[in-house]
Symmetry: D2
Subunit: 288 residues, 4 copies
């Protein structure tokens, strides 16, 4: 089912999400707890931005399980970024190779997904036909996730400087297309879309379910900084921050990285969570 975490805030080490927290992504790769599929060993990936160097994020993916990739171990103590994604995969659609690992990227955009498009096989060709050519030709793998990203990109009207409303309306169009195609194909299967998309300045999360009651778990934590002190990671609350960190920090994750601690809230079912470049969080219900 995959597990993921996204971060936007003051520069943070990838390891502070990937390996240091109690419920780190690496730990989730071998023993996830908030899902039936505890093993997420079918590859992994990280994507990160350093906007002063390039608008285009760096992406590193591997078909190996996250727990034993030498490159991840030898790089992630050095990669610090104000905006990054980390993903561990449990394959449903698509074989295990680098091209099917998240996050996916197109120019300045990163995307990762946990869940599945209901009846994907029945609508895959129709989805391909619904894409704009440039996004069709960017497809490198076989997953529903990558195709969903291409559909979202095809639905994005303001490509240069997208604002919250652009991110959301691209999603609304995407969901309309998706449900239209599913209806036409008689799809009754559940669709689970826990998705994050960013352009490095801001990010949008979606927690969506269709044809089922329960959405997959999706949590977020906001504060003044996500810190690692005395072997423990935690999100410093804003009111309580004696170091007066100038920037804020937001984490969105499939599982609560620090365990069952009070900093985590649930993204409500069928809602968007938007984090703007001031790290302000806005929750908006899906209209579709």
């Amino acid at each position: 089912m995959c597990r993921f975490a996204a971060y936007l805030g003051r520069p943070l080490l990838v390891n502070d999400v990937m390996s240091r927290p109690k419920v780190s992504l690496i730990r989730q790769s071998s023993s996830a707890t908030e899902t039936d599929v505890t093993l997420n060993g079918d590859g992994f990936g990280i994507g990160w931005y350093n906007l002063e160097v390039s608008e285009v994020p760096a992406v590193f993916v591997s078909a190996l399980p996250a727990w034993n990739d030498m490159n991840l171990r030898n790089m992630s103590h050095q990669i610090q970024s104000p905006c990054f994604f980390a993903h561990v995969r449990a394959a449903e659609e698509g074989v295990v190779n680098q091209s099917n690992c998240h996050p996916f990227h197109y120019q300045k955009f990163l995307m990762m997904h946990n869940g599945g498009v209901g009846g994907f096989k029945k609508i895959k060709l129709a989805m391909l036909n619904a894409l704009k050519p440039e996004f069709f030709h960017n497809i490198k793998g076989q997953t529903d996730s990558e195709l969903l990203f291409a559909l979202w990109l095809s639905s994005l009207e303001e490509f240069e400087s997208p604002k919250e409303s652009d991110f959301i309306s691209a999603w609304e169009r995407t969901l309309t297309t998706l449900t239209t195609l599913q209806k036409a194909a008689g799809v009754k299967e559940e669709t689970y879309l826990n998705v994050i998309i960013s352009d490095g300045h801001q990010l949008i999360g979606l927690r969506y379910v269709n044809n089922a009651d329960q959405a997959l778990t999706l949590h977020y934590a906001e504060g003044s900084a996500f810190v690692h002190h005395h072997g423990v990671c935690r999100m410093l609350p804003k009111e309580n921050d004696h170091l007066h960190h100038p920037d804020n920090a937001v984490l969105i994750a499939s599982e609560r990285l620090t365990g069952d601690t009070p900093e985590w809230k649930d993204v409500p079912k069928n809602h968007y969570i938007f984090v703007d470049h001031h790290k302000r969080v806005v929750l908006t219900p899906v209209k579709n």
Copy 2:
């Protein structure tokens, strides 16, 4: 541009094609001579049949160059087969990963390709729409080669026990579809299709060019057996075979494996070469 060799005959070691001949596939992977693209280091693959075990061939592919893959080195002295394919890749369409390595397979069929579909980007979506669903869903990579194979499979009417005429008429329908789609998309680029397809009992080769004068090189050699004596590989001529090998042997290859020796003939341009289960060779011009 890729290089390949296919064998049908009495059981032969994969190494007798892959590493032992003067112009072995491994040598072609780093220094091909009958082409402008001398380096074919973007992955490789082998596929082989042992029909008494299964109708479905074994396939081993790797994104590493053939010259330094440990598994290839540690297996190919042991793999003996009456029908096998070997391919070294120079990527044109599709990133370098296992899913884009030849040979491709579907149930009992193996396919490999050297060349390129003219204007592929312009007709890729139309090609996908032309496929039967089962072959569409079998697509794992991004190459024109894999799509061409899916188109051929979609054009094959007799799937269970195909005969020479079935192999050829599937190709004729495939070429008709291809040129129709290319015409509709205004494609002027050259198409080069040197392709081998087999079901383990018989195989068909195609040497085809469109919108250009010269086809890519494609040679074949037939004899009583392909043997390795005193460090030299050669095809024993039938009339000269004092060992009276009961079976015959046919090789089809991009480059003459034994160098410029007399056993090799050219497959004529825009011709099929069909090798039946008695290892009889028939050359037929492409009608299309």
Copy 3:
């Protein structure tokens, strides 16, 4: 801790051990049950003999987990052999790469290991110094397992046509060297050696423990044939074999492949299990 299975008998499909049994090696790679370490996702390997082709076995290893390696899936339905090894790894010594995957091989010999050499770091250099040069130079990885194999090879006096007594006396010398080096280095840690070695004609297993009470699990099953009928794998008892299979079959495995069925016996602690080319099983206590 790793899991493995070895087979000697009438030609058998690798899949009849790797994927088809209830407790197949692939299932053990993600959820082993007879051990504390349930996850064996740090690479895997198979090695197999076809003596009419070559005395030297074929070896295929991968750093990916066994459950999602495309090559394994695309080859193992075709690989049939009268003697083969299969191993899934849970790394203790050595990073996860192909060079640290079992089985290890040297000319005609295959070896695989489940367990660990007590105090390996303290005696590693001394072990290297104890090797004959040819085996020292064959070392490609970092594991205690590969070094143990090199030590056994260095202790083998009859290399050409080893008999049961040669296999065993090489092990006795190996264990003497090992315990001597451990004593000299003040090692108190437990040593667990569940090891299989073969030359393709016969094989020896060892279930050994030192500085601990409990050895790791090691089972064997003998019968007239290991068969797969109506979706169920089982070892046919010799007296009951209405098909009168001409050859016998022996399996040795970390976990009972068919579950808790009566065909499985334990290899006693600190015993060798030798299977000769008639598939006769002899159990001999370790003297050392």
Copy 4:
């Protein structure tokens, strides 16, 4: 024979060495020109420092050829560093896997090598015995290069804050050990050591040959900045720098990255080239 480049100076994009120059490392991986071995397709690696994040460099290696590694392509436009190494490998000692790829690292040190230790097989065990335990246990692969690095680390007396004299005297001790071991083993083969070592603040290069007349090529270029303008890379001369770059820049490389342009000088045979944290270059003859 391998090819490499090292950079110390104001922050520079890895791509400005790896892919943008006329004679980029990626181009050298498929067609090197200043050597007999034009193909360096047996893996590659990069290592880079960002000292404000960690003293320990990041290292990314891959067994794929540099020209087609997706991760390299998707990361190297984002990796900017004041000190980095890039290496493309042509394997002589050691199979092609990640553990044998350069650069090697130990805590804050990076090392890469182009060349070969004469008679390596004859002295490998003696070299292992000459190591301090902590460096012996850090060995992960099979190459002479990694062992040479371990020998240098074992010879380094000032580990915390090494100065030029410490780097050099560690090399002198290393060369003494090496030639002593070679003499004892009767080695007559050529030794070629083109090596770079850094701690992120400063770096030392060595161009050394023994038992042969010609050393391998090693060049360096110093200036105010290495820049990429209008598709051309070049080293700005200090006196000529109208932008008054505050820092300087030094490149050391097997091949002149910008082609036969005047900024390149040869490191003399059997000399060290030391670049201090002010980017001052000092050439010192090897005493040994």
